[in-house]
């Protein structure tokens, strides 16, 4: 009987167009949209091409000219300099062709049209030049014999800063949207969980009423339905991850087997969560569906599906919540596989998912069992 129920549950699930759309087609569509929107963004934010700047030479300033030469002229330079007159420079700034206008005369000054990172860097450049001038003039006034040492100290190529990259994996911040997309798909498994509840609760569907009358032990029927949901959700998760990795070419790290494992575990947790949430109370199927979807989307929002750095904000304000939010735990699993060479954090997250699945399933079964109806 268990396998009979299991077989028909899977058949019904596969033929349910709504479920298959939300669990397979919607994530595929959303993944495609993410790829279109975020595909080039990371390369744009990490693009350090030379900052376009117009330079107006009001008076010959040999030192400043040589300073400009040292930071411009090649593709990996800091500045892309256009020497021009004041009016043309103003026009270029207005049209957005240059980030700022540097006027060099007795005093070097900077004009910008808006606030921003590139403008701040130009300010730093001008400030550094004026600072060097001041240090040299101070050295000249205090001890002229030390000017040369001061100049060589200021122009030293040796950097006091050692740059270290935090991770070796894919540091594209926009990939987190795909982690969260996987988490969302996993938690859409709640719809399958809801299906179990509706099809086994006599006051929610005629099928539930018929099942309640049948001599099959409820635990057997529920177990078959749960197993069926786990299988269906596993299929959906495999399709989702395969599509992201092999069709959209999203870099989810080089431990793909574990990414699949984490996604499937997340999907199973999603089903169990849906089973538990929809077992609460005897409200209509529509209301239960609304509540479970609302809960899922809220959890995904807090995990960063809509606002990328939301998980960071939660980590700052309520770090405990990221540890119990299923969406955050699922996306964290994939995140750790990308960033950490050891499995310590990954195992912790997987154990958390396993614990959630057990608790949700047990509570769901506990709340669904032994229900009696005086009339239907």
């Amino acid at each position: 009987m268990f396998f009979h129920d299991l077989k028909y549950f899977i058949k019904c699930g596969l033929r349910s167009q709504d479920l298959m759309f939300w669990l397979i087609l919607f994530p595929i569509a959303l993944g495609g949209f993410f790829k279109v929107a975020f595909g080039d963004l990371y390369s744009q934010i990490t693009d350090t091409s030379p900052i376009p700047v117009a330079v107006v030479s009001e008076k010959e300033n040999q030192i400043f000219s040589s300073a400009l030469e040292s930071v411009s002229g090649s593709d990996d330079s800091f500045l892309d300099v256009t020497f021009t007159d004041r009016d043309t420079a103003a026009g270029l700034l207005k049209d957005g062709k240059v980030t700022g206008v540097i006027s060099s005369g007795d005093k070097v000054s900077l004009t910008v049209a808006e606030n921003g990172l590139e403008q701040t860097m130009l300010k730093e450049f001008v400030e550094r030049f004026r600072l060097n001038e001041k240090v040299i003039s101070d050295a000249a006034s205090s001890d002229p014999t030390k000017i040369q040492q001061a100049v060589s100290a200021l122009s030293s190529e040796i950097s006091p800063v050692k740059n270290v990259k935090a991770i070796n994996g894919n540091s594209d911040v926009f990939v987190q949207y795909f982690y969260n997309l996987i988490a969302m798909t996993a938690l859409y498994g709640t719809m399958l969980g809801l299906k179990i509840c509706v099809e086994n609760q006599a006051d929610l569907s005629p099928l539930g009423a018929r099942k309640c009358c049948s001599p099959v032990p409820k635990i057997k029927g529920l177990s078959a339905a749960l197993c069926g949901c786990f299988i269906l959700q596993t299929l959906c998760m495999v399709i989702c991850v395969t599509y992201l990795v092999f069709i959209l070419k999203i870099d989810l790290g080089n431990r793909l087997a574990l990414v699949y494992l984490a996604s499937i575990a997340g999907g199973i947790t999603g089903v169990a969560m849906g089973f538990f949430v929809s077992s609460i109370g005897s409200i209509s199927e529509r209301m239960k569906s609304g509540i479970t979807l609302g809960v899922v989307m809220f959890l995904c929002f807090l995990s960063g599906l809509m606002v990328g750095n939301m998980k960071g904000v939660i980590a700052e304000k309520a770090p405990w919540f990221n540890k119990i939010n299923p969406a955050a735990v699922i996306s964290d699993c994939i995140y750790c596989l990308n960033f950490y060479s050891d499995y310590r954090r990954f195992i912790t997250k997987m154990l958390t998912l396993a614990a959630m699945t057990l608790i949700f399933s047990a509570l769901g079964i506990f709340m669904t069992r032994r229900k009696k109806y005086a009339s239907l």
Partner: protein
């Protein structure tokens, strides 16, 4: 007006969905307004979010930490690898600076390197700016030190010199019309208008044109033209009300009546609303259930929003994507919106072209709806015709 009244009764049942969409949208918009007001026309330096670990813990290292904190936001983090990597990845901090042990001893030595470690996630301008700041500080101290000052003197003189910042001139431009918040508000309307109008109107029209209902009405004394007109009236009234509510919401967020170029944005949103209404009518022709309408609406609205520059600005999208997006009305809506809210005078002929394109989409969909209805009607007649 019995049909009109019946339309309103059915509409009432679908209203909660529309209200939820509108409520969430307006709540988020209010949140954005409260978070970020536009600045005035003065230069504001970009602040980085920095975490500093001072392993040296000397007056010189503390002086460097004070210098970094002067123009940046200092974020306290636990000195734990997981916490640091999370904070960097989720952009709570732009970089993590570690002032190494022995920093003060080697500070004055021009040949000493790697005194400070800059841990970062990317190689962008943010990180380059941090390097510039650190190098500026250290080189100034070394310059004063090389000029014959003791380390303490060099540090204090460097601090004095570094506090004298360059004044940046802000080019005299007219203040951005309507500011960035209202620009974003109008841009996001491209998403929300479709969601609200389609998810509400489509099921209602589909119900009003349900086969059994139509058969019953056809037997009544109401002329089919009157029936259709009353439904059009009801739909138009609802669409106009939704559009007006969003316009009022925008005016409230802005803090007063729209002025100048923003009226063009209002007109632009109206033409887009017409498109959304036409889309709702086309979907209603297929007699879909509310769940199916919801699915299709989400795919269309999200798809157009991602492709056409609603969620990510058009300037950030690739050329190929923008080329494909030209075949979607949201592209023309966003393009007109960006033009209207850009600095300087809006190019009226360009904006008019965008409006015309949106209207063309609306008219095409309207014609498509008529065609589908005609085909279905003819198909229905053929089915009813007796076979020979």
């Amino acid at each position: 007006m019995q049909v009109f009244k019946a339309f309103l009764k059915v509409l009432k049942k679908e209203l909660p969905t529309a209200l939820i969409y509108m409520g969430v949208f307006l709540a988020i918009a209010i949140g954005f307004v409260m978070l970020g007001r536009d600045g005035d026309n003065t230069f504001e330096q970009t602040k980085l979010y920095i975490c500093i670990f001072d392993e040296d813990n000397t007056p010189q290292s503390r002086s460097l930490a004070d210098f970094i904190g002067r123009n940046n936001e200092i974020v306290e983090l636990e000195n734990d690898k997981d916490v640091i990597i999370d904070a960097l990845y989720y952009e709570r901090v732009d970089c993590v600076i570690t002032i190494k042990k022995g920093y003060s001893q080697q500070l004055a030595d021009p040949s000493a390197e790697d005194l400070i470690e800059n841990l970062k996630m990317h190689e962008g301008y943010d990180e380059a700016l941090m390097d510039m700041l650190l190098e500026k500080y250290v080189s100034t101290v070394r310059g004063y030190s090389a000029a014959g000052n003791s380390l303490d003197q060099a540090v204090s003189k460097a601090e004095a010199a570094l506090s004298d910042t360059v004044e940046v001139n802000f080019s005299s431009k007219e203040k951005k019309s309507g500011n960035t918040v209202i620009n974003a508000y109008f841009r996001y309307l491209a998403y929300i208008l479709i969601c609200v109008i389609t998810t509400t109107i489509t099921p209602v029209i589909a119900i009003m044109y349900r086969k059994d209902l139509r058969f019953r009405t056809n037997c009544s004394g109401i002329a089919p033209t009157s029936y259709t007109n009353q439904i059009i009236l009801g739909s138009a009234g609802f669409v106009a009300a939704i559009w007006l509510l969003f316009m009022v919401g925008g005016a409230v967020l802005q803090g007063g009546l729209y002025q100048g170029k923003i009226w063009l944005a209002v007109l632009n949103s109206f033409s887009y609303t017409l498109f959304a209404a036409s889309l709702a009518v086309v979907l209603a022709c297929f007699s879909l259930g509310s769940n199916a309408v919801n699915l299709i609406t989400q795919v269309i609205s999200l798809g157009m929003s991602f492709f056409c520059g609603v969620f990510v600005e058009q300037s950030m999208l690739s050329e190929n994507v923008l080329l494909a997006a030209r075949f979607l009305p949201a592209y023309w809506y966003v393009r007109a919106n960006d033009m209207i809210f850009s600095d300087g005078a809006a190019d009226l002929s360009e904006a008019a072209l965008c409006l015309v394109m949106q209207l063309a989409f609306a008219v095409s969909l309207g014609l498509l709806a008529i065609l589908i209805n005609r085909l279905r009607y003819i198909g229905g007649l053929r089915k009813k015709a007796p076979t020979a």
